[in-house]
């Protein structure tokens, strides 16, 4: 092999390594975690500032609407004791109500509440508040969420 070819291979390897480093860094900073309140609490300070899709049920009696209804607060639960307070700006979607599955995009605030940027209603059929020892299947709710479905163009190759 000629020196030129070795040089070319070296340059390609260097470019590949650089690319890998950049993409790895880019991915690491832009991960979106799919969590319920339980996982959110388990993550502790790691959740503050991270991109999170929070899934769970809207706790009964917890909805407070602000002025002009473009601000809403509620609690999301996934099991007894697994509860997170959510503050959301924006108009809630059509189906939004108590005991419905929701997914909220946003992040954990230092003050201990979840700052929601986007509120979506889940399509899952389970609207029962979890009893002792029960836990909402957050991942399942997540999958059937309007937000996921609406972005997903169905039935294409």
């Amino acid at each position: 092999m000629s020196r030129g070819r070795w040089a070319a291979i070296g340059a390609l390897a260097a470019a590949g390594a650089a690319l890998l480093a950049i993409t790895a860094g880019g991915i690491g900073q832009n991960l979106v975690y799919y969590w319920g309140p339980t996982e959110l609490h388990a993550a502790g300070p790691k959740a503050v500032g991270a991109s999170i899709r929070l899934g769970g049920l809207v706790a009964p009696g917890s909805i407070r609407k602000g002025e002009g209804a473009s601000h809403v607060e509620f609690d999301v639960i996934d099991r007894p004791g697994g509860r997170v307070h959510v503050k959301c700006t924006g108009v809630p979607p059509q189906m939004f109500r108590e005991q419905i599955g929701v997914v909220v995009e946003g992040t954990m605030d230092k003050a201990g509440y979840f700052e929601g940027r986007r509120l979506m209603v889940s399509h899952s059929n389970e609207y029962r508040v979890p009893g002792d020892g029960e836990k909402v299947d957050v991942q399942k709710a997540m999958r059937s969420t309007q937000g996921l479905d609406e972005r997903q163009k169905p039935q294409e190759p």
Partner: protein
């Protein structure tokens, strides 16, 4: 009865394609003319049975024959006939059946057109196509059987996915996508044949390039139609979200575009043969990967995709195709001896190389971002996704570089350019670029990336227009022809491929500018309104007049009537709403868009209540979005110009004299 006939046709297609593939490989290896004739027969018969199976399914869908499992799955008596017909591609089994129709059509036409040409390559190519056809026939015969028998026969079915019924674009988008996706099988077969014979002669490059260009045109249109559909239907006001489904269609487009460019270099210089073939094969593999990603449900959960057999089956096919490609490349690539050598100075060749490097870089970043969550979930059982900022951060610099390159490359001369030549070639376009950026700044554009994009767009527009008009002007001067005559001679009769390429570039420049402006210059509000209340958005006044219920045969709609005016001038009424389909619990939002060349006013209802007279409204101004759709039309037109007359004009291949002499000397 229908179901049994359908199953018979699928089995026949499977047998015919498998037999054809075996005979084709044997005919290629033995150079047997009769074997090649037999292979062609199998190819035509395969296409005919696939077509018959599709006709049968369409008839069953239209007649609402619920004894056929696919009709029972997606059919409904309450939907209009056009919805019943397009239900063919509304769900998994039907879409694979439709896929079979298209692969059959492609194989038959590609075989027919080359029946008397390239006898050493064609049996191999047809064999590879038929092997791919056999795989899809196998899917239909087993894991994705659309012709199952249903007993007892249900009286009615649930109807197709409501999102598909919600807009006409869903009729046209999937066929284009399939034509683009499936069409990549043809260049894959041709590339395999080139590797199997160990030769990529000059006369074989033309079919390879043209058969790559045709699905590229379809794929380009399909990607934009998909974005357009998302924009008109989904209601979040955007057209691209780096969703895995979108990325699946974008990845093969990137490698196919790269291959079209490297094929040009191969054609002119006789170099980069192995690289071109590699890109063509990668394109096909990415279409299969895309099929796997969107058809297996793997993005719902890594662990649920095994619930249907189709995911693992496609994965096995992908693995086989990957081994086939890598194996062929490893064993044969050095046989594809370059005829010419590449002189890489600061000339146009170097720009082609940079172009290819950027496209491959783009492909890798999108591929990694798309598959990363799958790998993490498989390994660590954690659900996550890679957020949009990752893709944007990667795509913007690469895209902007490609935009600049699209101007720099054509401006430079072939071969080694002196720095003086380079300066002279780039000075005037650079002026145009600065001018464009200055105008944009004066018009209020402040985002740095948008300013850079518009500046580069000015640069590239200058070069593209110069290259488009140069032959025309020359001809008018040299031959004293009138404008019309010179236009016909220079752009259509002689340089149609060149003309087409620059028309595609012009469309791409418009797309870049429109994407940059629409994604950085929009404004939006979210408000809750009562009847009679008015919201302000930019210069628009949006008055919520009333909410009402509208009944249609297959759906109920909640519609908000919003009177739009600007500066006191009435602009009519927009009607965003929610459609409630039968058998669907949740309503589907339907935005309403007022489109103009300058900007779109986009209204999306978040909630509508006719009883209390309230409306939750998401209103957006999206500038220049219409130009993205126009740009796609221009790109497709350019592709057609480059493609169509090629068969009528028996042009001689344009090898450079030195290369041609060497080829002749080799015999």
């Amino acid at each position: 009865m229908t179901a049994a006939a359908g199953r018979f046709l699928i089995l026949a297609a499977l047998l015919l394609s498998s037999a054809g593939a075996i005979v084709g490989f044997a005919a290629g290896a033995r150079r047997s003319a009769s074997g090649w004739r037999l292979t062609r027969g199998f190819a035509y018969a395969f296409a005919a049975t696939m077509a018959a199976a599709n006709v049968l399914m369409m008839a069953a869908l239209l007649l609402r024959d619920f004894s056929v499992s696919y009709v029972a799955h997606v059919g409904s008596r309450s939907v209009p006939d056009w919805v019943a017909l397009v239900s063919l591609w509304s769900s998994l089994e039907g879409s694979i059946l439709f896929w079979g129709l298209i692969i059959g059509g492609y194989v038959a036409i590609a075989t027919w057109r080359n029946r008397a040409l390239h006898p050493e390559y064609m049996p191999y190519a047809t064999a590879v196509w038929l092997a791919c056809g056999a795989f899809f026939a196998f899917l239909l015969a087993g894991p994705a059987q659309p012709f199952g028998s249903v007993f007892p026969v249900p009286a009615d079915g649930p109807g197709p996915n409501p999102l598909l019924q919600n807009h006409v674009l869903m009729i046209v988008h999937p066929p284009f996508l399939y034509l683009g996706y499936v069409g990549m099988t043809i260049p894959f077969g041709l590339a395999s044949a080139a590797l199997l014979t160990g030769r990529l002669g000059h006369d074989f490059l033309r079919p390879l390039r043209n058969w790559l260009l045709l699905p590229w045109i379809f794929l380009t249109v399909a990607i934009v139609l998909g974005g357009w559909w998302a924009y008109e239907v989904l209601g979040w006001g955007g057209y691209w979200a780096w969703d895995p489904v979108e990325n699946a269609s974008f990845l093969p487009w990137l490698t196919a575009t790269a291959a079209l460019h490297s094929a040009l270099l191969t054609e002119r210089k006789g170099a980069l043969k192995g690289w071109t073939v590699t890109l063509v094969m990668a394109t096909f593999l990415l279409t299969i990967l895309g099929t796997f990603m969107t058809r297996s449900g793997v993005f719902n959960s890594v662990h649920s995709f095994t619930q249907s057999a189709i995911g693992p089956t496609i994965l096995v096919f992908l693995a086989l195709a990957l081994f086939w490609s890598i194996g062929l490349l490893a064993l044969r690539i050095d046989r594809l001896a370059a005829e010419g050598s590449l002189v890489v100075g600061a000339g146009r060749e170097a720009m082609f190389l940079v172009n290819n490097l950027l496209f491959v870089l783009f492909t890798f970043t999108v591929l990694i971002g798309t598959t990363f969550p799958l790998i993490v979930e498989a390994v660590r059982d954690v659900q996550m996704s890679v957020g949009r900022p990752y893709f944007d951060r990667m795509a913007v610099p690469v895209g902007v570089s490609l935009l600049l390159l699209m101007g720099v490359g054509p401006a430079l001369p072939w071969g080694r350019a002196t720095s003086d030549q380079v300066q002279r070639a780039l000075l005037a376009p650079a002026g145009a670029g600065v001018f464009a950026a200055a105008i944009a700044f004066a018009l209020g554009v402040r985002s740095p990336w948008t300013l850079v994009t518009l500046g580069f767009a000015g640069f590239t527009t200058f070069v593209t227009l110069r290259e488009l008009t140069l032959p025309l002007v020359r001809r008018m001067r040299a031959h004293g022809e009138g404008f019309g005559q010179a236009l016909l001679e220079s752009q259509v009769r002689r340089g149609h491929r060149r003309t087409g390429a620059y028309v595609v570039h012009a469309g791409a420049v418009i797309a870049f500018a429109a994407i940059a402006v629409s994604s950085t210059m929009g404004t939006s509000i979210e408000v809750q309104l009562r009847e009679g209340e008015t919201a302000k958005l930019g210069a628009y006044e949006l008055k919520f007049v009333k909410a009402e219920r509208v009944s249609e045969p297959h759906r109920e709609a909640l519609v908000a009537r919003v009177a739009v005016s600007r500066g006191g001038r009435d602009l009519g009424t927009l009607s965003p709403g929610m459609n409630q389909y039968e058998n669907q619990r949740e309503p589907v939002g339907t935005p309403d868009v007022r489109t103009s060349l300058f900007e779109d006013l986009y209204l999306s209802a978040l909630n509508v209540d006719p009883d209390s007279g309230s409306l939750g409204l998401h209103a957006m101004i999206n500038p220049m979005v219409a130009w993205i759709w126009i740009a796609a039309g221009i790109m497709a037109l350019g592709g057609v110009v480059a493609l169509v007359p090629a068969r009528r004009l028996a042009e001689r291949p344009q090898l450079e004299p030195a290369v041609a002499a060497r080829v002749a000397a080799q015999g």
